[in-house]
């Protein structure tokens, strides 16, 4: 069965590339769903129960950290693997993320699609 990946990010272009990249690179292994802010993301996550969440830290309405806290507070979201997307300048937020049990991180502007694909594969193995 295809693994469900939820991308939550307000950068629409990035979401599209990542989605296309995961779909193409995964060769049908992954089903990718998307949300453009934390609020929408939480609703989608609650409905779809994804196997992996790729979460942007800098987001409108509900920020990445707020989303994580909320996710970890509900039964179904306690153990969902989360990969956070950050910018180099934002690495300070990592420690907060680690406390909330993130599985990994990607640096948005620096990591190539291949690196991201590999990381996703590792997490979902």
């Amino acid at each position: 069965m295809a693994k469900k990946i939820l991308i939550i990010d307000d950068d629409k272009i990035f979401v599209k590339i990542l989605r296309d990249g995961l779909m193409a690179g995964g060769g049908g292994k992954y089903e990718v769903i998307t949300a453009f802010d934390g609020e929408e993301g939480f609703v989608t996550a609650a409905n779809e129960r994804p196997d992996l969440i790729m979460l942007d830290m800098m987001m409108p309405k509900v920020t990445g950290i707020e989303f994580l806290k909320k996710l970890r507070s509900v039964e179904w979201g306690k153990d969902t693997p989360v990969i956070i997307e950050t910018q180099l300048s934002d690495l300070g937020k990592m420690s907060e993320g680690v406390e909330l049990g993130v599985t990994g991180y990607i640096i948005k502007s620096d990591y190539s699609l291949d690196t991201i694909l590999k990381q996703v594969e590792d997490v979902l193995k």
Binding site: D10, D11, I13, F14, K16, I17, L18, D20, G21, A24, M58, M59, P60, K61, T63, Q87, L88, S89, D90, K108, S109, D110, S112, L113, D114
Partner: protein, 584 residues
């Protein structure tokens, strides 16, 4: 026989001769007397000059009247004959009584002088000082108990400094009728001159001290001065504010040490500065929610014999919170810019990666989608770079506009048309109202004014929800007329709350406004809107909206380059009116 006439003549001549001799003698005597007198006068003068010089030499810049009196007393013997010369000086707690004896006198004699001096001091002061403690010093000849010579000659010279009686100088003798007025006069003169010198010196020092005190009082920096034993001599109001010392009076060094304990060891810094004669600068001391640069420096004497000697220390607290905030804003700005540039750049890179895969290359629709994305990403980067260049030009004062006679209505209408599709897609009603009297052509830079309009209209559309309304208007403003009345007269909606400028004093101008029914801006944030750095340090834009907010900063630069005014009126939940006035 000698004729009688001749005898007469001889007698007359003899008499004349005698008269001449007598007159000559008398004249000579008078002359001699004058010369002697002049000699004495010259001697007095010499003494006067000598003693004044001596006073000057021996006391230097001393303000100590007692030292000066000692000099006078010590040299008085060259000029006056006395049994005792004495002075009494008033100090807050006691009376200093010093007697210099030139010959043996009895204790009764000294006691007599003491009581005479006390009563004359009391009389001069107008209050009784007989009860005050007296510090007595007697120097010179031995007192002989058997002698019972009373005080027979005596005179007093009051000591006045700065218009205030400080004491009395007395010369006394066991012999009667000794002191002539001229002698008293000279002594009086000397004492008077010495007093005047001290008074002048005190005045100068008081003025200088006053100047320094006023300067230190008004300094923004906190200044604390201590002596060598770290006892606080002075602390200005700013220094008291630093440690939150609210009581009146000078705080102690412990107030400072305690306040800074755990942050900065003031005591050891002060010790280091004083003992090692070093100026210490401690950058960035964070204390009481503020940043300080603290300088601890030794204080050295800069005049006199003790020049260079360390007298104590000074601690200066320089509040650098503002600089630190500005620095933080600059850093925030830079990291924001880096973020804004990295995101599209990162996307471009990934689009390139995707497009290299054969699957996308073969898929015509996917390819064209990616090309569109490439275009969007690079456009947004280019826009940002252009904005940054504009900002840089504005800051360097090199921002220039190219004015020309343009049809303003067409320019606005063109912009409105440009945004019509976007507005329609977003479900927002976009309208354009032109008031009467708007001239056909106006002198302005069409490209730059279009840039301002683009910014204001796109902001308005961004912040307005579906079903909302964005109204663009252009009308004339007359000086001293109310802008709200003028707007409502042409049917232009205007958010009147928290207006940043009322435009009453503006000359006749062309007003262009963009009013939305969006979420509005808080008063606090409207003040930050047009400022480059505060745009970033606050969440003005609201979490919902992306962008750098540089557009408004540039818009202000453009409008100001046209000698115009840009402003905003806004209320949360109601909407905002952004406007600019271009003087005609």
């Amino acid at each position: 026989m000698v004729p009688l006439e001749l005898l007469y003549i001889i007698i007359i001549f003899s008499l004349l001769y005698i008269a001449v001799v007598i007159f000559s003698y008398l004249g000579l005597r008078k002359l001699r007397k004058n010369i002697l007198e002049q000699g004495r006068e010259a001697k007095r003068r010499m003494y006067e000059i000598a003693i004044l010089k001596e006073i000057g030499d021996r006391t230097g810049y001393s303000l100590n009247i007692q030292k000066i009196l000692d000099v006078i007393v010590g040299s008085l013997g060259q000029f006056l004959d006395y049994s005792a010369v004495s002075y009494m000086l008033l100090s807050p707690s006691k009376v200093v009584f010093k007697v210099d004896l030139d010959e043996s006198v009895s204790a009764k004699f000294v006691g007599d002088i003491r009581s005479r001096m006390l009563s004359s001091l009391s009389a001069l002061l107008g209050r009784d000082i007989a009860e005050t403690e007296i510090e007595e010093t007697i120097t010179g000849a031995i007192m002989v108990e058997s002698s019972s010579d009373p005080v027979q000659s005596y005179f007093n010279i009051p000591l006045v400094i700065g218009g205030e009686l400080v004491g009395v100088l007395t010369v006394s003798n066991t012999k009667p009728g000794l002191y002539k007025e001229s002698e008293m006069e000279i002594l009086y003169k000397i004492v008077n001159q010495a007093s005047q010198a001290v008074t002048r010196l005190e005045d100068v020092i008081k003025t200088e001290q006053g100047k320094i005190a006023a300067m230190i009082e008004s300094m923004l920096e906190g200044v604390v001065m201590t002596d060598k034993d770290y006892i606080v001599i002075a602390a200005n109001p700013a220094a008291k504010t630093v440690i939150g010392h609210k009581e009146a009076g000078v705080p102690t060094i412990f107030n400072f040490i305690d306040a800074f304990s755990g942050t900065l060891d003031i005591r050891s810094k002060l010790e280091e500065a004083i003992k090692l004669d070093k100026i210490l600068t401690i950058n960035e001391v964070f204390f009481g929610n503020k940043y300080y640069q603290v300088v601890v420096s030794p204080v050295k004497a800069n005049i006199g014999l003790t020049k260079g000697e360390i007298l104590g220390g000074v601690i200066i607290f320089h509040d650098i919170t503002h600089e630190k905030e500005a620095e933080k804003m600059r850093n925030d700005f830079t990291s924001m810019m880096v973020h804004e540039l990295r995101s599209p750049l990162g996307n471009i890179k990934k689009i390139g990666e995707m497009m290299r895969t054969p699957k996308v290359l073969e898929d015509k629709q996917a390819s064209s989608e990616y090309v569109t994305m490439l275009y969007e990403s690079s456009s947004s980067m280019l826009d940002l770079v252009n904005d940054l260049l504009d900002i840089a030009k504005l800051e360097a004062g090199k921002f220039s506009i190219e004015k020309g006679a343009v049809k303003i209505r067409e320019i606005i209408a063109d912009r409105v048309k440009f945004f019509e599709t976007v507005a329609k897609d977003a479900g927002i009603n976009l309208t354009f109202i032109v008031g009467d009297g708007v001239p056909d052509t106006v002198s302005l830079d069409p490209k730059r004014i279009s840039q301002v309009l683009n910014n204001l209209i796109s902001n308005a559309l961004n912040y307005t929800e579906k079903g909302g309304r964005v109204t663009i208007s252009s009308f004339m403003h007359k000086k001293e007329k109310n802008i709200f009345d003028e707007a409502s007269a042409v049917g232009v909606p205007w958010v009147t709350e928290n207006m940043s400028s009322m435009l009453e004093n503006t000359t006749d101008s062309l007003i262009i406004s963009v009013t939305d029914t969006g979420e509005g801006i808080s008063k606090e944030n409207t003040e930050k809107l047009f400022n480059k750095f505060t745009q970033f340090s606050s969440s003005i834009r609201g979490a919902k909206h992306s962008g750098t907010g540089l557009g408004l900063v540039i818009a202000r630069g453009i409008v100001e380059a046209h000698s115009g005014i840009i402003g905003v009126g806004s209320k949360e939940g109601k909407g905002s009116t952004f406007y600019f006035a271009l003087p005609l």
